[in-house]
């Protein structure tokens, strides 16, 4: 105990000298002070705090975490993280990056050593909505889903607070989108999938009967994406976005690969192959469920890009086309805008036997010559 209290006294006096150093010296040697107490950055994230050991005299390196702690200003809870002692510094790495714009305090043995603020990033660019799919001006009455593509990874769990559907420029339509937790994002968190409530789309289901179809044929709608939606760096959208569309007739037919028309480039050219789909199909599935296979059964490398409001598909090969037979292979999960896939309609009568042959892959052959 005696040793402890002696140690404490020692620590306290050293801390006092440390504080004198910290708070008096900056006036004389501001630059030097800046160099002594620094933030460890990883990209734009403040991942750690570097405290020179000379500011922590008398600290026992074996139990640093018992003597030093970091907390939010006006809060007494120590921030969870790990303490590493290097030759000259104590490095604190919080479990999650420090939050920009917040103030933190460094405490040593119950004394405030230093307050610091993680600066806001003035250079950061605001995220933008790149596209809303389908891009069409007219969508079917039984439109099943929309995708929203952003320029940067976005915060999750915010979608239903930041998207509004407005009918005929007057009424905001409630409960149109299915409230899903977790939300359906791609891995990069840049594309969000939103389902229009399937229970309201399917005819005769109770939600459909109680609330009706989410959309009304012949009506005009506007999707409004609020500026408040923030990216993972906490920056809100550069601007609010509105997209108008009109609702057409119900789509009650599955896409038919057999009817697609393929415009084939000449051998030796690297021009894109063009597939005419005759109707707008799902943008993301077009990019993921269609592949070109050569006569040896190998995948032809290249880039698939839907065009003309998702009614055509371009395939640009990595190398020039060779003469020969090819096949466009399409997974049955490819859907049109109403969720009808190659095997079945989204809203089908299951009391009727499926007459259509169920296949996993549909094929359309073509020849380069």
């Amino acid at each position: 105990m005696l040793t402890d209290s002696l140690d404490h006294r020692k620590i306290r006096s050293r801390i006092i000298w440390g504080l004198v150093y910290c708070f008096l010296m900056p006036g004389c040697f501001e630059k030097k002070e800046d160099k002594t107490f620094s933030i460890e950055w990883e990209g734009r994230q403040a991942k750690g705090l570097i405290i020179p050991l000379k500011l922590l005299p008398g600290i026992s390196y074996d139990s640093v975490e018992k003597q030093v702690h970091i907390q939010l200003k006006n809060n007494t809870t120590p921030v969870i993280g790990e303490y590493l002692v290097s030759e000259n510094d104590l490095i604190f790495r919080p479990l999650i990056a420090f939050t920009r714009g917040l103030k933190y305090e460094v405490w040593v043995a119950n004394s405030l050593l230093r307050e610091m603020e993680i600066p806001l990033d003035e250079t950061v660019t605001a995220p933008e909505v790149i596209a809303i799919y389908p891009t069409n001006d007219t969508v079917p009455l039984n439109l099943l889903k929309i995708y929203i593509a952003f320029s940067k990874p976005m915060q999750e769990g915010q979608s239903l607070n930041n998207i509004l559907l407005i009918k005929n420029r007057q009424d905001t339509i409630p409960s149109v989108f299915l409230d899903l937790q977790p939300e359906l994002w791609n891995k990069e968190r840049t594309i969000l999938t939103l389902w229009l409530d399937p229970g309201r789309i399917k005819r005769d289901l109770q939600p459909n009967k109680a609330m009706g179809s989410p959309l009304e044929e012949g009506a005009n709608y506007q999707i409004l994406i609020r500026k408040d939606w923030r990216d993972t760096e906490g920056v809100s959208l550069a601007k609010e976005l509105r997209k108008d569309f009109r609702v057409g007739a119900r789509d009650v037919l599955s896409p038919v690969v057999e009817n697609w028309i393929i415009q084939v480039p000449k051998p030796g050219s690297s021009e894109a192959l063009t597939i005419y789909l005759h109707e707008p199909l799902d943008y993301i599935l077009l990019k993921n469920a269609v592949r070109i296979i050569d006569s040896n059964g190998n995948v032809v490398n290249g880039i698939i890009e839907p065009g003309a409001e998702q009614t055509i598909l371009h395939f640009k090969p990595s190398v020039a086309w060779s003469t020969g037979y090819y096949t466009a292979e399409v997974e049955s999960r490819l859907e049109d805008l109403a969720g009808n896939n190659l095997n079945r309609l989204f809203d089908r009568d299951i009391s009727q036997l499926e007459k259509k042959e169920q296949k996993e892959i549909y094929k359309k052959a073509f020849q380069v010559r």
Partner: protein, 370 residues
């Protein structure tokens, strides 16, 4: 002498083999390392303190050994007011920057585990002990993992470079040596239900599930399961699942086999305009009760006996808006319950958004709720 020499060499070789194979020390085929968890959508405990982490972002299920195996029979009631503020402070940030994605209680130690997703996308696994929030380190721990990116059994047919599917995990449970998982694609409209044997091996089974949504049975509902549990009813094991607009559906567990199309039996409709959130089973006086938290309805209590005795299936449409049908249930005075898990045999851990906006973690006793 020669024999003894060979014996010594054989022993040494065996010891070396054991030492060289860290997994030999871990049951369930776990190996030491740092699991690359990218998100935590769902948590569920398995045997012996094994925690399953459903990671939607990497389309992976991780099994980690928490080494939290001290047996506690009766848990102390958990009461943490403004738990989100306490977690945010411990993480050195503000409440608006975090989301609690799941809570799970270790059935061995009764310790509370909590998954948090920060706005910058960092996943965090914490324990809450009293009012103390601590991190669960994922560095150099025994773990194993299995990908759910592809449809089981289809890998061989997949050609090089076929993009992995994104799979959002809506619920995860462990029962009878298997991890059960419901998921939803972010591309095609399709839900999946998987049964993955544990210890993990190459075998996964995926069945397609179909329900009648108390409509007239004419139109299919290929809706994703939002929450589920397992239960033994009349001596047979069932998957008890609930969907958006709240049908309660039973699927015999032994029928959930690879590639099989299983039709569920809808035993209740708990009302449209609602999504089920979590299910917990408690027992009292020899009776089992199912508790279900909901997005737009209070917590419901259903006596499993009512489910056992309900032999029919709902195939008629519900004509009255928001009306219910099928097995009886009781609504409890608990609304806006966001998460639930069983704390012990007689208590339920509840994460609830109070009317004043506070997010509290508290304990409901079975005596009060039953």
């Amino acid at each position: 002498m020669k024999k003894l020499y060979f014996f010594v060499v054989a022993c040494a070789a065996f010891i070396l083999l054991i030492a060289a194979n860290p997994s030999a020390n871990h049951p369930y085929g776990l190996k030491n390392g740092t699991p690359a968890v990218q998100s935590i959508s769902a948590l569920a405990f398995g045997p012996d303190g094994i925690l399953f982490i459903g990671d939607s972002k990497s389309a992976t299920v991780f099994a980690i050994d928490t080494k939290d195996k001290t047996v506690v029979e009766k848990a102390a009631a958990v009461e943490v007011k403004n738990v989100d503020q306490k977690i945010a402070a411990a993480l050195g940030t503000e409440v608006k920057n975090i989301r609690i994605t799941d809570i799970a209680v270790n059935p061995v130690s009764k310790k509370v585990y909590c998954a948090v997703q920060t706005n910058d996308g960092t996943p965090v696994l914490l324990t809450i002990d009293g009012t103390k929030v601590e991190a669960v380190s994922l560095k150099d721990i025994p773990f194993s993992n299995i990908s759910i990116a592809n449809v089981p059994g289809n890998d061989a047919k997949d050609r090089n470079g076929r993009p992995l599917r994104d799979q959002s995990i809506s619920d995860l449970n462990y029962a009878d040596g298997s991890v059960l998982l419901s998921g939803l694609s972010n591309q095609e409209f399709g839900s999946s239900f998987r049964k993955i044997g544990f210890p993990f091996n190459d075998k996964q089974e995926q069945a397609s599930l179909e329900i009648f949504h108390a409509a007239h049975g004419k139109y299919e509902t290929n809706s994703p399961i939002r929450t589920f549990t397992t239960a033994e009813l009349n001596g047979k094991k069932y998957l008890v699942a609930s969907y958006t607009c709240t049908p309660l559906v039973l699927f015999p567990l032994d029928e959930l086999k690879a590639g099989k199309h299983v039709k569920g039996r809808t035993v209740a409709e708990f009302g449209a305009g609602n999504s089920p959130i979590d299910m917990v089973t408690l027992k009292k006086d020899g009776h089992s009760y199912l508790f279900m938290a909901n997005s737009n309805r209070p917590v419901m209590r259903i006596n499993y006996k009512s489910i056992e005795t309900y032999e029919g299936t709902l195939t008629e449409p519900i004509k009255e808006s928001y009306a219910t049908a099928g097995v009886n249930f009781v609504t409890l005075p608990a609304v806006n319950v966001i998460q639930m898990d069983k704390l012990d045999d007689s208590q339920v851990l509840v994460l609830q958004r109070r009317a004043n906006g506070d997010l509290d973690l508290w304990t409901a006793s079975g005596d009060r709720w039953i």
